[in-house]
Amino acid sequence: MKRKLPLAICFITGVSMIVQFFIPHPTSLEFSSMIYKWIIVLMALALILAIGNLIRHHGNKIRRKKENWQYSIVTLSGMVVMATIGLAWGIDPDSLYQRIYLNVMAPLGGTMFALLAYYMASAAYRSFRARSLEATLLLLSAFIVMIGFMPFGQYLHPRFPAFAEWIMKVPNMASQRGILLGVAFGSIATALKIILGIERSWLGGKE
């Protein structure tokens, strides 16, 4: 029963949403609108479960003084302080919440994204080697695209930006489409497999 019930719910909802897609009648639209609202509410409810897990996990860490437990205090206090400030003093453009957001969270986040530039530089240096014909072609096209997209690329040769764009629009796009096509079929097949109950790995596998 524990397995059959989710499979039944899955099948009924899945099929009714497919059928709904083909019926433009107002009743069908009301049905879909109701389902969408349910999704929004359920997703918001799941957030409560998730936050519960976060508090439990870090609370346990602090209580048992596990390794690096101090970080857990930072996590929990950050969450509580921000939520309290937002709830108590509002989230208007001039509020304390907005100021903390723009002056603490934004620079911290920016630092994280900036790491990408460092990692990209070191990864490119280590891996972009002309080891074979394919690797050489990859290297050359990467160079052309990089130069072409830089503002001064057009001064090296007026055709550079256009050539870089051609690489992006023709060979790059063709390969992307190939993968996209596979992905689209994979998506449909996965959806069908779950709706029809063929795929059960998400329920712990076979009966």
């Binding site: 609108s33 969270m105 934004a106 460092y118 240096y125 972009f128 080891r131 764009e165």
Partner: protein
């Protein structure tokens, strides 16, 4: 260790240090390199340019987080200036939980800037009439689809707690029928949802402003017309700023231009290191072959 072996194994910390210096440099040494506008940026600009004033609204989905602020924030500001200058109402919303703070900041700063430039008091932009920010909502795809029937069903109140039906703009803009285009400003794959779902069902026009790492994924969609225009990373933002300036919708450029110079420096550094690595690799391989 031979010289060529040494240059193939440069410590990553040296690369990091050089990169830091080069990123900071353009902030002190001002260089202005003329921009060539990429066709996809021009397309987005032309689309906004073709919307009649005081008719349909532009819906901006602010889905970028503070991490990608340097790339997406200038895009948001340039786009807002363009819409407001042309008298196009703007509705903002977010599906990324980190985005509302930035959306509010972009709206408030652009409105302040334009109001300070306005000739008369009547020209100032009014919340609820010229622009509205709806805030964040969970259940992204479900919300996007449901908005096709009624925006008020998904967002009964705006970000500041006002009832949607009390806002004059939202009394006119009921669903996608009153939206000229949805522009998604994001650091992740959010536009694809708009293409797959509301565009397929309701024929919504989609535009995007994405980080440079994400943008190439959408080139196929620009070609098919599913995306009506695209700003790609800081370059796209700088181009849009320039277009807005050239058409007289703004008096100054934004800060994407300076960022572009830093970015170009990183590109040059990466290329130099790739060349160094390959020279070293070439010589060490030749040496190995000679030894055989």
């Amino acid at each position: 260790m031979k010289w060529y072996d040494r240059i193939t194994t440069i410590d990553r910390r040296i690369i990091y240090l050089l990169l830091t210096v080069l990123v900071i440099m353009p902030f002190f040494v001002k260089v202005t390199i003329p921009q060539k506008i990429m066709p996809q940026t021009q397309k987005l600009f032309d689309f906004i340019e073709s919307i009649p004033p005081n008719d349909k609204a532009v819906l901006i989905s602010f889905d970028y987080s503070p991490q990608t602020m340097p790339e997406c924030h200038p895009m948001a500001k340039a786009l807002l200036k363009h819409c407001f200058a042309r008298g196009i109402p703007v509705i903002g919303l977010s599906f990324d939980p980190e985005a509302p703070g930035l959306a509010v900041d972009a709206l408030v700063s652009v409105v302040h800037e334009l109001d300070s430039l306005a000739d008369q008091k009547d020209d100032s932009l009014i919340y609820g009439i010229d622009y509205v920010y709806l805030g964040w909502k969970s259940g992204r795809i479900a919300a996007q689809l449901d908005m096709g029937e009624a925006i008020s069903g998904v967002f009964p109140r705006d970000y500041f707690g006002n009832l949607i039906d009390s806002l004059p703009l939202m009394q006119v803009v009921k669903n996608y029928k009153n939206i000229a285009i949805v522009v998604i400003l994001a650091s992740a794959d959010y536009p694809i949802d708009w293409i797959r779902y509301p565009q397929t069902r309701y024929g919504v026009k989609v535009g995007a402003g994405l980080t440079a790492v994400m943008a190439p994924q959408y080139y196929p969609f620009v070609q098919t017309g599913q995306v009506s225009g695209l700003m790609s990373g800081m370059k796209g933002a700088a181009e849009y700023e320039k277009l807005v300036l050239d058409y007289g919708y703004a008096r100054t450029l934004g800060n994407a231009e300076t960022g572009m110079n830093s970015q170009s420096m990183i590109h040059i550094l990466i290329m130099v290191f790739i060349i160094i690595g390959n020279v070293g690799y070439f010589f060490s391989r030749r040496k190995k072959e000679a030894q055989k």
